[in-house]
């Protein structure tokens, strides 16, 4: 049984179902990547696991506990952290305050976590007094990931973390995400840059119109001629 699993999820935002019975799972110390064409329901699948979308059927389990009926807030309290694709920092607050907000639910002293996060993203230590809204796109993404890490989550969900950043920044972000994996966090990621993402993925899910088309290790998917032809451009 996986650490976090969404099984046979069916649902949508009213109207036609976007998810038609897809299953996504991720274990601790592992990176799972959801890829697929536009409109495949990649982000929707992740949001369903976070509780932002009511499911008609299927269930979400965290550590074998059924969390299907919990609100996103309740799931966050259980150790899931989510980095949205856009508007993922508090632009009018300083970098440090963004991190403090990430630790909002913690009652203990989180200064050590701040130090760890600064070690992971040294640029943030330098800019900790600056407003997050004044940072570059790549730096903002780092703040967004760092904010999510402040709650010391067991699951980190990233919705297209590299959307709109340069290839160099993308490589660096993936580098950092690999480092986060070392700490034993389960990482679930939706990605447009399928090739690079599968490269660092332990597990890859190729979704097509709300269903699982291929599920394998990242390397196996990269090597699979059908996946290459249909989704990775040869």
């Amino acid at each position: 049984m996986s650490f976090l699993i969404g099984e046979n999820m069916v649902g949508g935002y009213g109207g036609a179902d976007i998810l038609k019975g897809c299953t996504i799972a991720v274990d601790q110390g592992e990176i799972a990547v959801i890829v697929g064409p536009n409109g495949a329901g990649k982000s929707t699948a992740m949001k369903a696991m976070l509780g932002m979308l009511p499911l008609k059927s299927g269930q979400v389990k965290l550590k074998d506990n059924d969390i299907t009926s919990l609100t996103p807030q309740a799931r966050i309290a259980k150790g899931i952290a989510f980095v949205p694709q856009t508007n993922n920092v508090f632009v009018s607050m300083s970098v440090r305050e963004n991190l403090e907000m990430g630790a909002f639910l913690r009652d203990d002293d989180f200064s050590q976590t701040i130090d760890q996060v600064f070690e992971l993203f040294p640029i943030l230590a330098e800019k900790q007094k600056q407003l997050a809204g004044e940072l570059s796109g790549g730096q903002r993404q780092q703040v967004a990931v760092a904010r999510a890490l402040m709650s010391q989550p067991s699951v980190l969900m990233l919705d297209e973390p590299t959307a709109g950043v340069s290839p160099i920044v993308m490589d660096e972000l993936f580098e950092r995400i690999l480092e986060v994996r070392q700490t034993g966090v389960a990482i679930l990621m939706v990605e447009q840059n399928a090739r690079q993402a599968l490269n660092i993925a332990d597990k890859g899910y190729v979704l097509v119109i709300g269903e699982n088309r291929h599920t394998d290790t990242g390397q196996a998917l990269l090597a699979n001629p059908e996946v290459r032809r249909s989704f990775l451009g040869g």
Binding site: Q73, A81, N87, V89, V91, E97, M101, R147, S151
Partner: protein, 340 residues
């Protein structure tokens, strides 16, 4: 030497009739605008009931003041209303939490657009207005007691030997001091405390605040408590400085909204800046400068008219014109706020 005396007289004249009154009025507007801007930033609607919230808090403070006065309790040279203020604040907090529970919460839960909440606040405005007229009536009430002046014109004239006197009313000095205390308090709260940061985060990015575990109902509750406090303090200070009349408080809505928007709505510092900008504009544009120029110009050039740009009846028109100009040319306000 005479020229120097004339210049000093002119300066004292301006201090007495423009600067000191504007500072006091600006502080009252700033406190009011701060409340409006907090509601806009956090609850995301323009609260038309704010003027009547101020009147409600002031009314309770006045009733309490009268009760204290009837018991022979006073606050020395300070107005008794200051002793009654906590009761007024408390009653207003209860009132605002009540209106939130029975009115705004419903629309918030339905995620209605901001304009729906604004219209609802007009309903709340009428309700509060009715309660106030029912309880204390529409007439003017005076409740200031204690020492009226810190500095009297005659005492100043005797001390300085100048023609012009400088008057500082206790209410004016109190207004500035108390406004500074409350503004500093609110900013300290917003910048340094956990709840204050949660409020700023919620105002900045509601979805991300929820993802960080901020409880929106708690943020809303704290906002109403702060707004009730600021509104009651602003209303009571205004009442002490001028007088209490429910209609005046209703008409304060325009300069207060103008102050909030001019400063940058949703931006607390902007509300303070806006309050003083509006107050100084209203007073400087409606003051008759004749006497000032009599001192400054040689007698041959003495002006015939009053040198008053606008009649004081038009003082609210000044805030309206500034509001329109800001919305036309810099809709985010002097300091960057949200667009209404």
């Amino acid at each position: 030497m005479d020229a120097l005396v004339d210049l000093t007289n002119a300066v004292i004249l301006l201090l007495n009739f423009v600067i000191v009154p504007s500072l006091a009025y600006g502080s009252q507007l700033a406190l009011g605008a701060l409340g409006i801007t907090l509601i806009y930033g956090i609850l995301r609607f323009a609260n038309f009931a704010h003027g009547d919230t101020m009147a409600f808090g002031t009314m309770i403070t006045i009733l309490m003041t009268w009760w204290l006065q009837s018991k022979g309790i006073s606050f020395g040279f300070l107005p008794t209303a200051l002793l009654a203020l906590p009761v007024g604040i408390f009653a207003t907090i209860i009132m605002l939490i009540f209106t939130d529970k029975v009115v705004y919460k419903h629309y918030r839960r339905r995620k209605d657009p901001s304009v729906t909440l604004m219209i609802a606040s007009i309903g709340v405005m009428f309700m509060m207005n009715g309660i106030i007229r029912f309880v204390i009536g529409p007439n003017e009430q005076r409740f200031a007691d204690g020492e009226r002046f810190i500095l009297k014109a005659r005492a100043f004239k005797e001390w300085s030997g100048l023609n012009e006197g400088l008057t500082i009313k206790t209410s004016q000095a109190l207004t500035v001091v108390i406004a500074i205390m409350f503004v500093v308090g609110v900013f300290w709260f917003l910048q340094k405390t956990r709840s204050g940061k949660a409020m700023r985060a919620y105002s900045d990015n509601e979805d991300l605040a929820l993802l960080s575990g901020v409880n929106p109902e708690k943020v809303v509750l704290i906002t109403w408590i702060i707004v009730a406090t600021l509104a009651t303090v602003a209303g009571t200070l205004y009442g002490l400085d001028k007088s209490f009349k429910p209609f005046t408080y209703l008409s304060m809505l325009l300069p207060m909204f103008a102050a909030a928007i001019v400063g940058g709505v949703g931006n607390p510092i902007g509300a303070i800046v806006g309050g003083y900008v509006i107050a100084f504009s209203e007073v400087t544009l409606t003051y008759a400068y004749k006497k000032v120029f009599v001192y400054l110009l040689p007698s041959s050039l003495e002006p015939d008219g009053l040198l008053q740009l606008l009649s004081t009846d038009y003082k609210h028109a000044v805030s309206f014109i500034i509001l329109v100009l800001v919305l036309l040319f810099k809709p985010t306000g002097i300091l960057k706020g949200k667009i209404l």
